[in-house]
């Protein structure tokens, strides 16, 4: 065989043989086919499913496991900094403000967050407690970030976007992993082990702990925001048959920490949280599609300065995708959710009633119609009924045009809603109470913010356009632009209520604002050489808000406009050096925030900043990865966001070392 010479192409493109046709007979197993037959089989790929990201009529971005590892991110919020169009701002050691396409706040409520298909935002405020959202970072498969309304498929709250954190299949986490990290602010570690369950199944179990020390506040004093958390969990996957797969997973988590409550005289307090969840999912492949049935249960207990919450969520969901004829791909689904809570108030925050159970029913129907091979129209709507605002519909229409193999453009029009919750209908926040001082002040005076049972859904109508291009094997880019109009956004109006001996100055929540926003996100992925990748990105955003009538407070209008940066630039570099050394750099520029607080006067601004993160990784042997990373290296400390309800800290320069052992 050594004698085979001079041959770049010796033989032979197999199709040239004109080998007997081999569209696999439907029932034959693929593995029974001969080589010749195999070579004639047309395939579709998992990659295609994931490329669906690049092949979809929406602005979507995937943060891969490799991206997370090489970014040096130590938390999910830090990893989200990589996604264009996402505003990530840390408030203190354990709280973040994260949004997509604006309206950023500690409890950004126009964003849907899921972990493995489980909604994790708080049903009380529709915001997300980011410190409670954690997994073993090495076990994340990818984070999908969808900018723009996703209400048609995902349901309420996906007004401005969806963040979907997906962990690896347990067959991909076989064996052991120990990871330990120590630094000037953060210490932690994870242990994970994965094995087999008979011939059909695989599982993993894990435990994770971490501890963060106090930052400094804006007066350079101890910010009193240290925290620690521990969690553990498992995931098991069974391939029941070639067509059915069963998934079970569960996690428990406990955390406690300190925070400073943002009252006129700030109060040092502490908070704690315990939560647990369990999920079961059955996925079945049919001849022309797939369906799944999923159910999850969450219980979440949170104790803090002004409120103790105990919230249970039960959800069951069915979804079916199938190909109907040559040109139609249909998705339909049903969802039921039951949320019940017990809220114990003190220090001024109260809910009436103190305990409530609410139900959500929803149905989805969507069709993707291939007008031609290159032109695809998707039309669908979600219809849901909730106990706060009744029926809601969230339709969309999307058009994708593949210009050629490497270029495509898309456009969409959609409507989505952010439904009211307890935090907007049933809440009362007492701000102050001044006793009567007869005869000068005959009545006691109280000030409070109160919800209103008439509070309706917030609504967006969004128009989007995007373009994706693969310029060469090494260079691709993505552009998305949008124009959104919002109606019935949250605000408040002043109301004075007189009763014998008491004057109440109330701010009553109302759907009092309209807004429009527009902007663009651009990013590129450039493989400069085999060992060097560069990813630049740019996000531009403008929000204009108006009050709908003259008696509406302007505080939230100003905050809507000012709480997100107008410009964000980023560039990430991943460089692989000889001897298994990696050197990775991320630079993020974030514009100033003009106003991040509702009630405080004068407006509170956050100056612009540039953040530099570096990581140096080395893998001396296969089973060991060592790294040192620095975050926020350019600046000793600076604030990233200032929230209404808790005192903000300055986010410091931090350095850590990390070791990961696998076997």
């Amino acid at each position: 065989m050594r004698n085979i010479k001079n041959t770049l192409i010796l033989t032979v493109i197999s199709a040239g043989f004109g080998i007997a046709t081999a569209q696999a007979a439907p029932d034959a197993e693929v593995a029974d086919l001969s080589l010749e037959e195999l070579m004639d089989v047309k395939i579709y790929s998992a990659a295609k499913k994931e490329q669906a990201m690049s092949d979809t009529a929406a602005a979507a971005f995937v943060i891969s496991q490799e991206d997370i590892r090489r970014s040096g991110a130590t938390s999910i919020p830090d990893a989200l900094r990589m996604a264009p169009g996402v505003q990530v701002a840390q408030i203190n050691a354990h709280d973040w403000a994260i949004s997509i396409r604006g309206f950023n706040d500690r409890f950004s409520n126009k964003l849907l967050v899921l972990i493995d298909g489980r909604t994790v935002y708080s049903p009380l405020f529709s915001g997300t407690y980011w410190s409670a959202q954690d997994v073993v970072l090495e076990d994340i498969d990818r984070i999908e970030v969808i900018r723009g309304p996703g209400g048609t498929v995902w349901g309420a709250n996906a007004v401005n976007g969806v963040i979907n954190i997906r962990t690896k299949h347990s067959k991909n986490t076989q064996g052991g992993l120990v990871s330990a990290q120590g630094g000037n602010y953060q210490n932690g570690g994870s242990v994970r082990y994965g094995g087999e369950l008979g011939k059909e199944g695989t599982y993993r179990v894990y435990a994770k702990g971490k501890q963060n020390s106090d930052y400094l506040n804006r007066q350079n004093q101890n910010a009193h925001d240290q925290w620690s958390a521990g969690q553990g969990g498992f995931r098991a996957d069974y391939a029941l048959t070639g067509k059915d797969e069963l998934l079970f997973s569960g996690d428990i988590q406990e955390m406690e920490g300190d925070e400073t409550i943002g009252l006129r005289t700030p109060v040092d307090s502490s908070m704690s949280q315990r939560n647990a969840n369990a999920t079961a999912k059955l996925t079945h492949k049919t001849e022309n599609g797939e369906w799944y049935l999923q159910s999850f249960y969450l219980t979440d207990e949170r104790r803090g300065y002004s409120l103790n919450q105990l919230i249970d969520t039960f959800d069951v969901e069915f979804q079916h995708n199938f190909q109907a004829g040559q040109r139609n791909a249909v998705t339909w689904g049903l969802d039921y959710r039951l949320v019940s809570d017990e809220l114990t108030d003190f220090n001024g925050v109260s809910f009436t009633p103190a305990s409530r159970a609410t139900q959500l029913f929803s149905a989805l129907l969507q069709d993707q119609f291939s007008i031609t091979d290159d032109l695809r129209l998707t039309v669908g709507s979600k219809v849901e009924h909730n106990d706060y605002s009744g029926f809601e519909y969230q339709p969309n229409a999307r058009l994708l045009w593949k210009l050629n193999e490497n270029h495509s453009t898309w456009t969409s029009a959609s409507r989505a809603v952010r439904t009211p919750t307890r935090g907007f209908q049933d809440i009362r926040i007492d701000l102050y109470r001044i006793p009567a001082i007869p005869p000068f002040l005959p009545n006691a005076t109280a000030g409070a913010i109160v919800g209103d049972t008439g509070f309706k859904s917030e609504e967006v109508i969004a128009f989007e356009w995007g373009y994706r291009g693969q310029m060469s094997q090494n260079l691709s880019f993505d552009v998305a632009t949008f124009y959104n109009t919002y109606n019935n956004l949250l605000s408040s109006y002043p109301k004075v209520v007189q009763s014998p001996g008491l004057t109440q100055n109330l701010s009553v929540m109302v759907n009092g604002l309209e807004a429009e926003s527009y902007g663009a996100e651009l990013y590129a992925n450039w493989k400069v050489t085999d060992s060097w990748r560069l990813q630049p990105g740019y996000t531009w955003l403008t929000v204009d808000t108006r009050t709908k009538s003259s008696n509406i407070d302007t505080g939230l209008a100003l905050k809507n406009e000012g709480s997100s940066p107008q410009n964000q630039y980023s560039i990430r570099s991943q460089l692989s050096l000889p001897h298994n050394i990696e050197f990775d750099t991320s630079v993020y520029y974030v514009d100033n925030l003009r106003d991040t607080s509702t009630f405080q006067n004068p407006m509170i601004k956050v100056p612009n900043y540039t953040r530099l993160d570096l990581r140096l990784g080395w893998r001396p042997i296969k089973a060991l990865e060592l790294s040192v990373a620095g975050q926020n290296l350019l600046d000793g400390r600076h604030p990233e966001f200032i929230a209404d309800d808790i005192v903000a800290s300055q986010i410091p320069r931090s350095v850590y070392g990390k070791a990961v052992v696998t076997w």
Binding site: R2, T7, L8, I9, L10, T11, V12, S14, A15, V30, A31, S34, L35, E36, L38, M39, V41, K42, I43, Y44, S45, A46, K48, K49, E50, A52, T56, A57, A58, A60, G117, E144, I146, G150, V153, N164, K171, N172, Q174, G175, D237, A239, E287, G289, Q319, N321, Q323, A329, T331, Q368, R376, T378, R398, S531, N580, I621, K622, A623, T662, W663
Partner: protein, 173 residues
């Protein structure tokens, strides 16, 4: 879920078969047409999978335990530190691309047939590279690599291959 979600965009043509299943079936077929050195032969043919999720679980299941050359094909999912000693075939995931030279060296020392679907695998010194063209899977063979591993590849396999590389074409590492 996402694909379904945003637009149900991964529309599977009825006649198409999942890429992973086809690749796995190819690997199974390779096991039929390779001769290992006498001292390597054991009671089963062990297919070792290296790296992150190169082939789907159900695709692997479809070939696990099948018979090739009157021996059972046994699939082993390797961890990063596992030795290749018992492997007759090593499937290397694209995720292992930047250490492929090292992996190939140790696999060939162990007389294992190296297979991968990563780009230009045969060109880089792997024995058989799976190549995707026109929505079909073909394969390329690097004879020198097979020889280095002490393997004899049947002429039937060679006759179907897309490209054969010999030493003249072997890129220097």
């Amino acid at each position: 879920m996402l694909s379904a979600v945003i637009a149900g965009s991964a529309s599977a043509d009825d006649k198409e078969i999942h890429e992973d299943e086809v690749k796995a079936a190819f690997v199974y077929n390779f096991a039929k047409f390779v001769e290992w050195p006498a001292d390597k032969i054991s009671e089963s043919i062990n297919l070792c999978i290296l790296g992150e999720s190169p082939l789907g679980f159900s695709a692997l299941k479809a070939i696990d335990g099948r018979t090739a050359q009157e021996k059972q094909l046994v699939i082993k999912l390797l961890n990063k530190s596992d030795e290749l000693k018992d492997c007759h075939i090593v499937f290397i995931a694209a995720s292992e691309r930047n250490k492929v030279a090292q992996l190939l060296k140790s696999a060939h020392q162990q007389h294992a047939l190296t297979v991968s679907d990563m780009d230009r695998f045969a060109e880089m010194g792997g024995a058989i590279g799976l190549v995707k063209t026109d929505e079909k899977i073909r394969f390329a063979i690097n004879l020198l690599a097979a020889q280095e591993a002490g393997l004899v590849i049947s002429s039937r396999l060679l006759s179907l291959t897309l490209v054969v590389y010999d030493e003249n074409n072997r890129p220097t590492p």
